[in-house]
Symmetry: C2
Subunit: 483 residues, 2 copies
């Protein structure tokens, strides 16, 4: 997913000046009833307790998904099994309505992949194809030219790259909110087209990750229409060190690369949706969710089994509550976030006519670390509600932060159309150690941290669904094109 700051500008746009805000808060009635707040606090404490033994605890849900399904690249048989798994799980958890909505997206498969240094120091290299890279069509072999970052590549003279392998060696920096991702990931997203235009035969990048493990990080490459499509792969961080250390010796370093990656055209799968019907305004919804698909290297525990499990478990808590919120709570397990938020786009397109019935959308797609902040993109007059929600979240160690935040890669697609959104920002300090690697497995998840997130999602979803008045969907200025 994107970092916390991606939508900072959008957030700033939607947040009123604090003076105006305080005035509004002072004159308005408290928008959430005492009974509503008491119920939410009880849901919070039940969720935080994590004592459920019936399979409804978030850890048990993600254990089930990773054990019984495992990796689930969108469009492949395990992802199809994951759709069936999600439908069955929603039903078992007591959701009132369970259904699917179609999502159409391009199917890509990795195939075999191999790389080695041929000369002057023959060694195996641990690499993986970037998602949706073209294959090499057999092995290709070329000398490597290193660039410190994408700007250095952009500045390269074409003659230096003709028939060579471009190698971008930038290192991602570690931050709690993951904001080291954006400056580093440009190499992965855009490097291939830039290098392709300069005549390179292939692109290698240092993995976009904060770890020192010999496991490369995959993730989407975005080819520009007007650039030659060249194969693109990531080296594990230790292998990037190795290649750089070889290159620093000053002799030409020749690499052989073989990627069996292939595109297979468009296929259709499904967003899987479970609903807890509201007690009065049943056609209005609060959406929470994560994405059901994963890359094909790990078992997709933190990206995004955790998000699916947290939001399914939070919904299940609300389902068991006698006093339902006014609005319906809709939990969405999006399909194919990884190759371009196709699930989020499909949902936004299918529900555009119901934009104003979407009270707010929230997404969990940043791993399994604890939530530390509540952020939101809502209309000015709804901030008092968000502050009341923040007070119920405060005992979980969550602060309410204005002017920052990110609607998430899938929910963000509807937010771009004008849906109000909130974010429960998670501690992502370790997230990019495992993100998009074979190391994305269940052992990286602390069950107690998931409990805290379930508690937070249950509170936010319940109170947003029970609040008087709109959060501003369809009423707010939209971000400018290209934002």
């Amino acid at each position: 997913m994107h970092s916390l700051l991606v939508r900072a500008l959008l957030g700033a746009l939607l947040v009123p000046a604090s003076a105006a805000q305080s005035a509004a808060a002072a004159t308005a009635e408290p928008p959430l009833s005492k009974q509503s707040l008491i119920t939410a606090a009880r849901l919070r404490d039940i969720g935080m307790g994590g004592t459920a033994t019936d399979g409804s605890r978030a850890y048990d849900i993600v254990e089930s998904l990773t054990t019984e399904i495992g990796e689930r690249l969108a469009g492949t048989p395990p992802a199809d099994r994951a759709v069936e798994w999600a439908k069955a799980k929603f039903r078992k958890l007591g959701y009132d309505k369970v259904y699917t909505e179609p999502v159409t997206f391009p199917l890509w498969t990795r195939g075999s992949e191999e790389a080695s240094v041929v000369a002057p120091y023959p060694q195996h290299l641990a690499i993986t194809a970037l998602g949706h890279s073209v294959g090499t069509g057999g092995a290709l072999e070329a000398d490597v030219v290193e660039f410190a970052n994408i700007d250095a590549l952009k500045a390269a003279k074409p003659a230096t790259l003709d028939g060579k392998i471009a190698y971008i060696s930038n290192r991602m920096q570690r931050f709690k909110d993951g904001h080291g991702y954006d400056p580093a990931v440009a190499a992965r997203k855009d490097g291939a087209s830039i290098a392709g235009r300069l005549g390179a035969k292939a692109l290698l990048i240092r993995s976009i990750g904060t770890d020192h493990d010999r496991m490369p990080h995959t993730g989407l490459v975005r080819y520009k229409d007007d650039a030659p499509k060249i194969p693109a792969a990531a080296l594990s961080n230790p292998d990037a060190d190795l290649l750089s250390n070889m290159l620093h010796r000053g002799r030409p370093v020749r690499v052989r690369l073989s990627l069996g990656a292939q595109e297979h055209g468009m296929v259709t799968s499904y967003n899987v949706i479970g609903e807890i019907t509201g007690r009065s305004k049943r056609d209005e919804v609060v959406t929470i969710g994560g994405h059901l698909d994963s890359w094909d290297l790990g078992t997709g525990a933190i990206d995004d089994g955790a998000g699916v499990a947290i939001t399914m478990a939070a919904g299940a808590l609300i389902a068991r509550e006698h006093r339902r919120p006014q609005r319906t709570v809709r939990v969405i397990a999006y399909m194919d976030e990884e190759s371009g938020s196709f699930g989020g786009k499909a949902y936004a397109a299918a529900h555009l006519a119901q934009l104003r019935q979407h009270q707010i959308g929230v997404e969990s797609d940043f791993g399994a670390g604890r939530v530390y902040a509540l952020c939101a993109g809502i209309k000015d007059s709804a901030w008092p509600v968000m502050e009341q929600i923040g007070q119920v979240l405060a005992p979980l160690g969550i602060v309410t932060a204005k002017g920052v935040g990110d609607a998430g890669p899938d929910t963000g697609k509807f937010a771009e159309k004008g849906m109000a959104w909130a974010q429960l920002a998670q501690d992502g300090t370790d997230y990019f150690d495992w993100h998009h690697t074979a190391n994305d497995t269940l052992d990286k998840i602390d069950p107690k941290a998931l409990d805290q997130q379930v508690a937070a999602y249950a509170v936010l979803a319940y109170l947003a669904a029970d609040a008087e008045g709109s959060m501003g969907s369809g009423e707010m200025p939209l971000p400018k094109p290209g934002d």
Copy 2:
């Protein structure tokens, strides 16, 4: 390598009762001269400074080995290149004599390897063949039976395993001195023969490692002559969790396993030896060293590039010292420790007639963590020397510990014949996170920690080589057979 405690019994056997010791120390002259101690302290401080920029710093040596050679399974072309590398490096570092001695051992290669759960939850499994495992001869497929540890496997009734895959799921525990290794590693060493006798088709084990990374740990399997040889492989720790979680659901779990491993008969390679000639007793030697070969998955940085680099660098420090010690310092880069300490055995066999000329032997084969203890297996009357050496080591945070210790897997082979030995015990807290995996790479090494070890080895080698009197080689009771 073995853990610190393997030779605790031997250590205890050789250490005198403390009363006798103190009496001896009180009556003897201090065995090391003031000038010798001053020189050793200077070597220590130069080593600890780590300021060498001419390639003689230990980190630069291991960077050279891992970058220019990388993985170097004994008997394969990269290991042959490593022999040439070591000869050239010794010469470059100013050693007086550089030569090789032959070592003959069985060549084994890994080939391709693959495993997956076929039913009921189809998933890829990250596995690696145990070293010297037989291959599967195509894919084999069978249901899995889990055993908590090797004792549970031993207690199994044959009918339960006939045609099945035995799976030992014991977890290695983390300790500073690595003593969690021995109880866990029995599954790797002996599991295949026990399971084979019970009719199993193959053995899987949870990796003998303390990490949570999706990288399996290889290491030697020891087939018993009277047991059927069955293929044996390790699951990464996350995959072991996965398999156990599947099995705990109570349905039969079917696994497909394909190992291309092969034996290729006996081959000959070399121990590479560099010497700093002593100033007087030139035919007497202190040996220090590590092993030059590595498993084939990582670049052998911590196992045992570090040991080779530390001891090469310590020797180089002594080579540059005007006041040479009395005896010769011999640095040995052993070949093929990994498949059974063949380099150590060859050295012991070739030098048995010079046992008494071997003042003491020391080995570095426990990664790149700092040294925290000096241990030794020496005759009673030599303890005052060791205590003087310990005083020079004390500022490095090293304590002198009696009655414990380990001569090391290669040096241990000559110690078994009666050579006095010492050990500079290292902090191995993290060692088994990376040991025998693809993750054994240069980034796991802290250059400053290597400096501390170089300082310690230089002090110990210098002072042992300069001391009056023998440490007891050929004079001490030998450990009982089977110890």
